[in-house]
C-alpha cells in the first residue's frame, strides 16, 4: 500500500503534458494569460521530437509570392486532407499561422531571409505557393529553442524526465495527473484546473519510423482512458522519403525540402516515375515536363509543381508500387536525386550544401554518400498520426471538461493526409489556442479535488511489474512484436485479413502486457518505463486497426488493397473511437458537418 503523504504534490491552474512545439506554445500562452503553469516532459527540456522537423512552418505570409493568402492555404489543406478535415480548424489555422510565425520571429527565432530582409519561404508538397518559413533544414530545432527560452524566462515550472501514468477525474471533469520521475522512480501528483495533452504521435507502434522513442501514443492512451474520443485514427502518414540504407538508420527522415529544392525520384531504370500517375485532383496544378518542374522549384511563377511534390500519401504509394513491381533500388527503395541539378547550376555542389546542410551531413556521415554527387536511396517511413483526440476546433477542449489537446495528439486539422509544413503551424496556432482556453477554463471553474484512492490505484498498478515473476518476455520484446505486426499488417497497403490478424495480435500482446515482469529497481530503469508505455501504444495501435477495418475505401493515407477506390459515401463521415462502458473499444461513424457556403466558395474558387 502506498503512503500518499510521502508523495510530492503540485497544484497548477494549467498542467501541460509534453514539451514539444504544441506543449511549449500552450504553456507560454497559459502563462501569459496569468495562469500558474506546470509543464511535464518525458525527456530533458528542448529534446522533444519537434526538433527533428526540418522543412519549415507553413504560413501564407506571401513574402515570396504575393498571390498567396489564407484562402489558398485553407483550400490546399482541405484538398490535401481529402475533405475529411475539420473545416473550422483548417480555417483558423490558415488565418492565424502568419501571425504565429511573426510572433516567433519577434521572440528571436532565426529565419532564412529574402533579399529585402523578410522571412524567406520555400516550396513544399501540396502547397500552391512557396509557403514554408524556414531556417536551413533545422526549423524545428530553432522553434523549440525559441519557445523553450521564452517559456523558461516567463517562469514556467518544468518537470523534466517525468512521465504521466494516468489522468485523474473529479466527477466528469479532469482534475489532475499521476506521474513518475525517472531519476529516482518516485511518484508525483499534480492537481490542475485544466490539463493540456501535447504528447505527439504514435510512430513507435511501427517498425520503420522517423519518430523518436517518446512517440508511444501517451496522450492518445491517457485521453482515451479518461473518456475522450479519438478520431481519424485510420490515417497514419508514411513519409515517402526515409533512409533505407545502412540498416541501422532505416526510417531516418530525408526532408521533403530535398524535393522542394529540385530533387527528383527515379526508379532503377532511371525513370522519373512520378510523372506516370498524377491524381485527377491535382492534374491542373502539376507540371507536364521535367523542365517545367525545375522552373517551379527555382521560383518561376508561371510554372506548375513537379509531381515529386504531390501529397505524401500519393508519393509514398507510388514508391511502394515501383518496389513491388521490381523497379526499386538495391536495398528496397527508390532513388532520390538532387545531384542532377548540376545540369542547371554550375555551383550545384555548394548550392546543395548550403540549402540542405543537415541532409548533406547525414548521408556523408551515416551512409558515406555525397548527395551533391550521387543519388540517395530512400523509401517510406512512418511519420505522423493524423488521428488523435477529437477536440472543439476553437478551444481545443476534448469531450472531457477541462481536458484539452493540441499538436499531433489532437486531430481534425489534417483529415486523411497532412501537408508537409502544416504540423509546425498546427503546433503554434492550436498550441496557443489550447493555452488560452485552458487558462480561461481553469479560471472560470476553479480548483479540483483529487481522489486519493484513484491515485493509489494507478501507483499500485505501476509498481506491479516489479512483483511479478513473468515468463521472461521483457517489455522490449512485446514492443518489437507489436512494431513488426503493425508494420506488416497495418502499414501503407492494408487488406481485411491482415487487419484481422493485426487485431488478434494486439489482443494477444495486450494480454501478455498484463503480466510483464521488470527486473531491477525504480531508479532510472528504462525497462520499467517501456513496460509502462505499452498500454498507451497498444490502445493507439488497436484504434488504428479498428478504424482501418471500418473504412472500406482508399483515401489519403489509408489505402485498402481490397477497396482501392475512393467511395463518395465514405467521404461523408469521420470514424470515432471511444472506450465503451465495459472497457471495450467502440467505433462509430460521425457525419461531417457541412461547410458554410463562404468556405465552400473558397474551395471552388481555388479549384481552378
Amino acid at each position: 500500500m502506498t503512503d500518499l503523504d510521502s508523495i510530492e504534490q503540485y497544484a497548477y491552474d494549467v498542467l501541460v503534458i509534453g514539451a514539444g512545439g504544441a506543449g511549449l506554445r500552450a504553456a507560454v500562452e497559459a502563462s501569459a494569460c496569468g495562469a500558474r503553469v506546470g509543464l511535464v516532459c518525458k525527456s530533458l527540456l528542448g529534446k522533444a521530437h519537434t526538433v527533428m522537423a526540418e522543412g519549415g512552418i507553413a504560413a501564407s505570409l506571401a513574402n515570396v509570392d504575393e498571390r498567396d493568402g489564407w484562402r489558398v492555404h485553407f483550400a490546399d489543406t482541405m484538398r490535401g486532407g481529402q475533405y475529411l478535415n475539420s473545416w473550422r480548424m483548417a480555417e483558423l489555422h490558415a488565418k492565424e499561422a502568419p501571425e504565429r510565425v511573426r510572433e516567433l520571429e519577434a521572440w528571436g527565432a532565426l529565419f532564412d531571409r529574402t533579399r529585402d530582409g523578410r522571412i524567406l519561404q520555400r516550396n513544399f508538397g501540396g502547397h500552391r505557393y512557396p509557403r514554408l518559413a524556414h531556417v536551413g533544414d533545422r526549423t524545428g530545432l530553432e522553434m523549440i529553442r525559441v519557445l523553450q527560452d521564452h517559456g523558461v524566462h516567463q517562469g514556467i515550472d518544468v518537470h523534466m524526465e517525468c512521465t504521466v501514468l494516468e489522468l485523474v477525474k473529479d466527477g466528469d471533469r479532469v482534475a489532475g495527473a499521476v506521474a513518475y520521475e525517472r531519476e529516482r522512480g518516485l511518484f508525483r501528483v499534480f492537481s490542475a484546473g485544466a490539463i493540456i495533452l501535447a504528447t505527439g504521435g504514435i510512430g513507435r507502434a511501427f517498425k520503420i519510423t522517423s519518430n523518436s522513442w517518446e512517440y508511444t501514443g501517451d496522450g492518445h492512451g491517457l485521453g482515451y482512458r479518461a473518456g475522450a474520443e479519438l478520431i481519424d485514427m485510420e490515417f497514419v502518414q508514411f513519409h515517402p522519403t526515409g533512409m533505407v540504407w545502412p540498416p541501422s538508420v532505416r526510417g531516418l527522415l530525408v526532408t521533403e525540402g530535398v524535393r522542394g529544392e529540385g530533387g527528383v525520384l527515379l526508379n532503377k531504370e532511371g525513370r522519373r516515375f512520378m510523372f506516370d500517375d498524377v491524381p485527377a485532383l491535382y492534374r491542373d496544378q502539376t507540371a507536364d515536363s521535367p523542365e517545367e518542374g525545375w522552373r517551379y522549384t527555382q521560383g518561376d511563377r508561371e510554372a506548375r509543381r513537379p509531381p515529386e511534390l504531390l501529397t505524401r500519401d500519393h508519393v509514398a504509394r507510388c514508391i511502394v508500387r515501383e518496389v513491388r513491381e521490381g523497379r526499386g533500388s538495391p536495398h528496397g527503395g527508390v532513388f532520390l536525386d538532387i545531384a542532377w541539378i548540376n545540369e542547371h547550376l554550375s555551383n550545384s555542389e555548394e548550392h546543395i550544401r548550403r540549402k540542405l546542410p543537415s541532409m548533406y551531413h547525414q548521408f556523408m556521415r551515416l551512409a558515406e554518400i555525397d548527395i551533391t554527387k550521387v543519388p540517395m536511396e530512400i523509401g517510406p517511413t512512418t511519420h505522423y498520426a493524423m488521428g488523435g483526440i477529437r477536440v472543439d476546433p476553437d478551444s481545443q477542449m476534448s469531450g472531457v471538461p477541462g481536458l484539452f489537446a493540441a499538436g499531433e495528439c489532437a486531430a481534425g486539422l489534417h483529415g486523411a493526409n497532412r501537408l508537409g509544413g502544416n504540423s509546425l503551424s498546427d503546433l503554434l496556432v492550436f498550441g496557443k489556442r489550447a493555452g488560452e482556453y485552458a487558462a480561461r477554463f481553469a479560471n472560470e471553474n476553479g480548483g479540483t479535488t483529487i481522489d486519493g484512492s484513484e491515485v493509489r490505484r494507478s501507483i499500485d498498478a505501476a509498481l506491479e511489474p516489479f512483483s511479478r515473476d513473468g515468463d521472461g518476455t521483457g517489455a522490449y520484446q512485446l514492443q518489437f512484436e507489436l512494431q513488426e505486426k503493425m508494420q506488416n499488417l497495418a502499414g501503407i497497403v492494408r487488406r481485411e485479413e491482415e487487419l484481422e490478424e493485426a487485431l488478434a495480435s494486439i489482443a494477444n500482446l495486450s494480454e501478455r502486457a498484463q503480466s510483464v515482469a521488470v527486473p531491477g529497481n525504480r531508479e532510472y530503469n528504462p525497462g520499467w518505463h517501456t513496460a509502462l508505455d505499452l498500454p498507451n501504444l497498444l490502445t493507439a495501435a488497436e484504434a488504428v486497426v479498428r478504424a482501418g477495418q471500418a473504412r472500406k475505401e482508399s483515401r489519403g493515407a489509408h489505402f485498402r488493397d481490397d477497396y482501392p477506390d475512393k467511395d463518395p459515401e465514405s467521404g461523408k463521415f469521420n470514424l470515432v473511437v471511444r472506450r465503451g462502458s465495459d472497457g471495450e473499444m467502440v467505433l462509430e461513424e460521425r457525419p461531417i458537418v457541412p461547410m458554410p457556403e463562404a468556405l465552400q466558395q473558397i474551395i471552388e474558387e481555388q479549384q481552378q
Binding site: 529565419f111 531571409r113 529585402d116 522490449y476 532510472y524
Partner: protein, 233 residues
C-alpha cells in the same frame, strides 16, 4: 556480423560505491552506430543499462557520451570508426545519476545565466522585423547548438573549475549578442566579462573538436572576447 566488445562504465546508485566497468560482446555491422550497439546490450543482455537518447538523428543532443575518450553523440559515431573494442563512459564534470546518465541541471543553469532569449523592448513591428542576409549570417553558426554538453564537458578549464560558465553557454550568448534585433548585448557581455566567463577559456580547441554540429566554438568565444574589449574602450 562481426563481434564488438563494449566496455561500459556502470554505476547503480543503490548498490555501487563507485563506478565499475562491464564488458559486453555484441554483434554489430561496421555501418551500425554506437547507439545501435548500446541498444542491443539493453534490449537483449541487460535491460537495466541506462542512457539518454531521443531522436537518434543527431539533432536532439541527448546521447552525448565519452566514446574511446572523446565526447561524441552515440547516434552519430559508426562502429567502423571506433574499432572492435569500444570504451563508453558518461560525460565528465557532472554528477553521474546512473550508468551513462549525468545530472544536466548545472549545465542548464550555466545556459540560463547568459540570458538566452531575445531582449528588445521596442515592441514588435506589424510585420516581421527585417534582417539582411548578412546580418543573419553573422550568428548563423551559433544557432546550430543542440545543448548536448559535449563541448563544455570536454573543456579542461571546466574540469578544473565547475564555476566556469563553459563554452555552450558562451555559444548561446553569442547568438543574441550578434543578433541585430537584440538590444541587450552589453548586459550579456558584462556577464561574460568575468574570471568565470570568457576569460577562463584558454583556447584549447577541445570544444570545437567535440562539437557534433561543427560549430566553430573557439572562434565564437574569440568574437565575444573581442566584443568585450572593444566595448570597454
Amino acid at each position: 556480423m562481426p563481434m564488438v566488445t563494449l566496455r561500459i562504465q556502470r554505476f547503480d546508485p543503490e548498490n555501487d560505491q563507485r563506478p565499475v566497468y562491464r564488458e559486453y560482446a555484441v554483434n554489430a555491422d561496421p555501418t551500425d552506430r554506437v547507439l545501435d550497439a548500446i541498444n542491443s546490450v539493453k534490449w537483449y543482455q541487460d535491460g537495466s543499462l541506462t542512457y539518454r537518447r531521443s531522436c537518434a538523428h543527431g539533432i536532439c543532443g541527448s546521447d552525448a557520451m565519452r566514446i574511446n575518450g572523446a565526447n561524441r553523440l552515440a547516434c552519430k559515431v559508426l562502429i567502423r570508426d571506433v574499432g572492435a573494442k569500444v570504451t563508453i563512459e558518461p560525460l565528465m564534470g557532472f554528477r553521474v545519476i546512473k550508468d551513462l546518465v549525468v545530472d544536466m541541471e548545472p549545465f542548464f543553469a550555466q545556459f540560463r545565466s547568459v540570458l538566452p532569449y531575445l531582449i528588445n523592448d521596442e515592441g514588435a513591428p506589424e510585420r516581421e522585423r527585417t534582417q539582411s542576409v548578412h546580418e543573419r549570417e553573422v550568428y548563423d553558426d551559433t544557432t546550430k547548438c543542440i545543448l548536448c554538453a559535449a563541448c563544455t564537458t570536454s573543456c579542461p578549464s571546466f574540469w578544473a573549475d565547475e564555476n566556469f560558465v563553459g563554452p555552450a553557454a558562451i555559444v548561446n550568448a553569442h547568438r543574441f549578442i550578434f543578433d541585430s534585433r537584440d538590444k541587450a548585448a552589453a548586459e550579456r557581455l558584462d556577464i561574460l566579462n568575468d574570471r568565470e566567463g570568457v576569460w577562463r577559456c584558454r583556447t584549447v580547441f577541445n570544444c570545437t573538436e567535440a562539437c557534433p554540429r561543427e560549430i566553430r566554438i573557439t572562434k565564437a568565444i574569440g568574437e565575444v572576447k573581442k566584443a568585450i574589449l572593444s566595448s570597454a574602450r
